[in-house]
């Protein structure tokens, strides 16, 4: 039997029972679109989060004070064994390190003439612009000053600039941060949010100034960049060795980009898996639908099958025909499901343009693949049963 014959046989079998096959396809389509939709949502969530975290490049390592065997939020707590500016500066002596960003953050009131804005103040070094990929819209970022004795310069986030200065230029103006005078050397380009923090609302000052204003000795974190050709584990070992030499004990935590991505990956995969599991309940019900309809169809087409057998058709061919019918119905369902998904995508993207793509090559191939698999699975039993019908009994059944 040629492929085209098989196709036309399947076409006639399916079209003969239009209404019931339509309903079967509809039920299966809902199941498929539920699974692919949830898988796609989980997937784009993962992509989104990972891209948020990898936007700073993969060769970045974070060092936080405190050994995190007991807690998670160590950087912001008080400690007598913190990480100092001296530590940050000494890390620069490692050959592999291309730059360090000491980080200390908190809130402060920023005043310009009679305007006041309470916002987040971050103490960093000149290298932050490179490490965090901050783009400067006006002026420059913090200059490369002495680590412990920097000049009182400040760089404003775009929104903060707009709130204090409107459309006027701010370069060279003086603002007061908690009573101290800072000179504005630059304004950043809009960057958006990161982990719920609005980066455009922040003001960036030298870390040493930040430490003294917040009356702290310990930094909250050191971010450092290393040559991209090196292994992160090797680099982490180097830094650990260096800091233990300075501190005597390991009272800090090193998190490499790879470790962080691993953790995130685990969490996000769990979410994605849960989504797929919820969607597949519908798919399961839809598959039972295909199975029951095929079984009923077969029962109603006993004589046809008997006739085919009596005319000498092989069992294997019969199995293939029924399987083809099952897979065809499932594929129809899958395609309709994907079309629904595409429609959802189009509708949603008019309201939320920044939404990532739901209908991707991955979700489409997932939907089609699952359809074929389930079609074969649901059709297997009826097909096998059909092939086993004795021709006499089947013909007599009229």
């Amino acid at each position: 039997m040629r492929a085209s014959d098989t196709l036309s046989w399947v076409k006639h079998a399916v079209l003969a029972q239009r209404s019931r096959n339509f309903l079967t396809v509809l039920g299966f389509a809902i199941g498929i679109s539920a699974v692919t939709l949830l898988a796609a949502v989980g997937d784009s969530l993962k992509q989104y989060v990972l891209s948020e975290f990898t936007q700073f490049g993969s060769n970045i390592i974070g060092v936080t004070p405190g050994k995190s065997d007991t807690m998670g939020i160590t950087g912001i707590l008080r400690t007598n064994r913190g990480i100092t500016l001296g530590d940050a500066q000494s890390l620069l002596t490692l050959n592999e390190v291309t730059g360090v960003v000491p980080v200390v953050a908190g809130t402060a009131e920023i005043k310009y003439r009679n305007l006041t804005r309470a916002t987040e103040l971050v103490g960093v070094s000149h290298f932050a612009a490179k490490a965090w990929k901050l783009e400067v819209a006006q002026g420059q970022f913090l200059p490369e000053d002495h680590f412990t004795h920097p000049r009182a310069f400040v760089v404003l986030g775009s929104k903060l600039h707009h709130e204090l200065f409107g459309d006027y230029t701010a370069l060279g103006e003086s603002i007061r941060i908690a009573g101290h005078r800072f000179t504005i050397v630059g304004v950043l380009a809009p960057k958006g949010q990161f982990l719920g923090m609005d980066l455009d609302e922040m003001a960036y000052i030298p870390a040493a100034k930040g430490l003294s204003m917040f009356n702290r000795t310990s930094l909250m974190e050191i971010d450092l960049l290393y040559s991209p050709s090196l292994e992160s584990a090797y680099m982490a070992g180097k830094i650990r060795e260096h800091l233990i030499r300075r501190h005597g004990v390991e009272d800090f935590t090193i998190v490499t980009q790879d470790q962080m991505l691993d953790t995130l990956d685990g969490i996000l995969n769990t979410i994605r898996f849960a989504g797929i599991a919820i969607g597949s309940i519908s798919l399961l019900v839809g598959s039972v639908g295909i199975y029951s309809i095929l079984t009923i169809s077969l029962w109603q087409r006993r004589n046809e099958v008997g006739l085919l057998r009596a005319l000498g058709m092989q069992q294997s061919l019969l199995i293939r025909l029924f399987l083809a019918e099952a897979i065809f119905i499932a594929l129809m369902g899958g395609s309709v499901g994907l079309i629904v998904l595409a429609l959802v995508q189009v509708t949603l993207s008019t309201f939320m343009p920044q939404l990532p793509a739901l209908l991707t090559l991955y979700s489409a191939s997932l939907g089609i693949g699952v359809s074929i698999f389930i079609g074969a699975l649901a059709g297997a039993e009826p097909a096998f049963k059909a092939s086993r019908l004795p021709p006499i009994a089947a013909l007599r059944a009229q």
Partner: protein, 400 residues
């Protein structure tokens, strides 16, 4: 036709088509139990956290140093700002009417060691009121001294885990513990309460707040917990506190006050939304099951044309036939729902047996809504086939 007749008629039918009935019931039962299970997991998680919150008392305020005026809102959880919130601020807040107790907190990390054993621990400097506000009790020994806010005594309360790790097999009471080069006498051991809202007290130490000022060489409080006595309106107290701090901090209102209530509300909203979404996603499977019901009913109508023709020839009205077909689906769905709910109950019982802390419980509305949605789909999706059956002309059906 009485209801009894109706049930007897349909029971016969369902039994005759055993195979089909089983498949349909399986689908509906799966849908119903999926909805109930998903909703009850969401609800249990919500209730678990709500219980944790309510244990802390509903009239609790939390003051954080610092303020953010950003459009996105967000609380300054860093607790780092340019002007310290101090013990004196806390003491002045205590004078306000409507305030029952004030617990200043200094939080930090330090190395705690006994002999050769050492561990990195969370250090909380506070007062007796903190223990009361966080519902912490003492398993053995004494609590913090009454003058924790004014006198810097070297006594410490330790978490249960820490007592084990640093002192076992000895009794820790009265022993010396070194925290970052200062020596402390262990006054008491905290009772096990496990993780309370993300703060693991089993590995923490609690000192008098005055002592922690000295330990960390800082006067800056991390948080102030305030419980209200309920005599003055919460809003009034909050604005009073803002006004007081503004006066004390040279005209700057540089704190943020969060109420326990609002935190719980925010959390509740998130959880309810999540549970609803998940429940709705689960009920998609019920819709798919409904389509299957419709499909099989259509086939059944096709097969039973003669029977229906006979019924109508004997005087059954369109209405009776319609009722018969719809009630067939309803009976099936009710049976299936019962099976589904029974299955869910078994699963939840097992879950409760394995994870007793979460105590899974299903709200009544989850059962009701799952069954209602199932019944609704049954009626909706069997209406069309039933309509078709009812409109069969008896003469034509019988002539065949």
């Amino acid at each position: 036709m009485t209801i009894n007749d109706n049930i007897a008629f349909n029971a016969q039918l369902l039994i005759r088509h055993r195979w089909r009935t089983t498949l349909l019931m399986l689908c509906v039962a799966m849908g119903v139990s999926a909805v109930v299970l998903l909703v009850s997991v969401g609800e249990s998680a919500r209730l678990y956290v709500a219980r944790e919150f309510s244990m802390l008392g509903s009239n609790l305020l939390i003051i954080l140093p610092g303020k953010k005026q950003t459009s996105g809102g967000g609380i300054p959880f860093y607790g780092t700002t340019t002007r310290d919130l101090t013990l004196q601020d806390a003491a002045s807040i205590r004078q306000l009417s409507g305030v029952d107790s004030v617990a200043p907190v200094i939080a930090g990390t330090a190395n705690a060691s006994v002999g050769a054993r050492s561990k990195n621990v969370m250090v909380l400097g506070s007062t007796l009121d903190f223990l009361k506000a966080r519902q912490l009790s003492i398993a053995m020994g004494a609590s913090l001294p009454d003058d924790a806010e004014s006198v810097s005594r070297n006594v410490v309360l330790i978490g249960s885990n820490l007592a084990q790790e640093l002192f076992a097999p000895h009794n820790p009471l009265g022993k010396m513990l070194t925290i970052d080069d200062y020596r402390f006498r262990v006054a008491g051991v905290l009772a096990i309460r496990g993780e309370s809202l993300g703060l693991d007290m089993r590995d923490a130490v609690i000192l008098p707040v005055k002592t922690s000022e000295r330990l960390f060489n800082s006067f800056s409080l991390f948080r102030i917990l305030i419980s209200l006595n309920g005599l003055t309106d919460e809003k009034t107290v909050i604005s009073d506190i803002y006004a007081l701090i503004k006066k004390r901090h040279q005209g700057e209102e540089d704190i943020t006050i969060v109420t326990q209530q609002s935190m719980m509300q925010a959390f509740n909203n998130i959880m309810v939304t999540l549970t609803t979404i998940v429940g709705l996603l689960g009920s998609v499977s019920l819709v798919v099951a409904g389509i299957l019901i419709m499909n099989l009913s259509l086939i059944s109508v096709q097969q039973r044309r003669t029977e229906i023709g006979l019924l109508k020839a004997l005087g059954a009205s369109q209405h009776v036939v319609l009722t018969l077909f719809i009630s067939e689906s309803i009976i099936l769905v009710m049976l299936a729902s019962a099976i589904g709910l029974g299955f869910t109950q078994v699963l939840l019982l097992l879950a409760n047996y394995w994870w007793p802390t979460l105590s899974f419980s299903t709200p009544l509305w989850a059962y009701l809504s799952a069954v209602c949605v199932a019944l609704l789909t049954a009626v909706l999706f069997s209406y069309l086939p039933a309509k078709q059956a009812a409109s069969i002309s008896p003469v034509e059906a019988l002539r065949k």
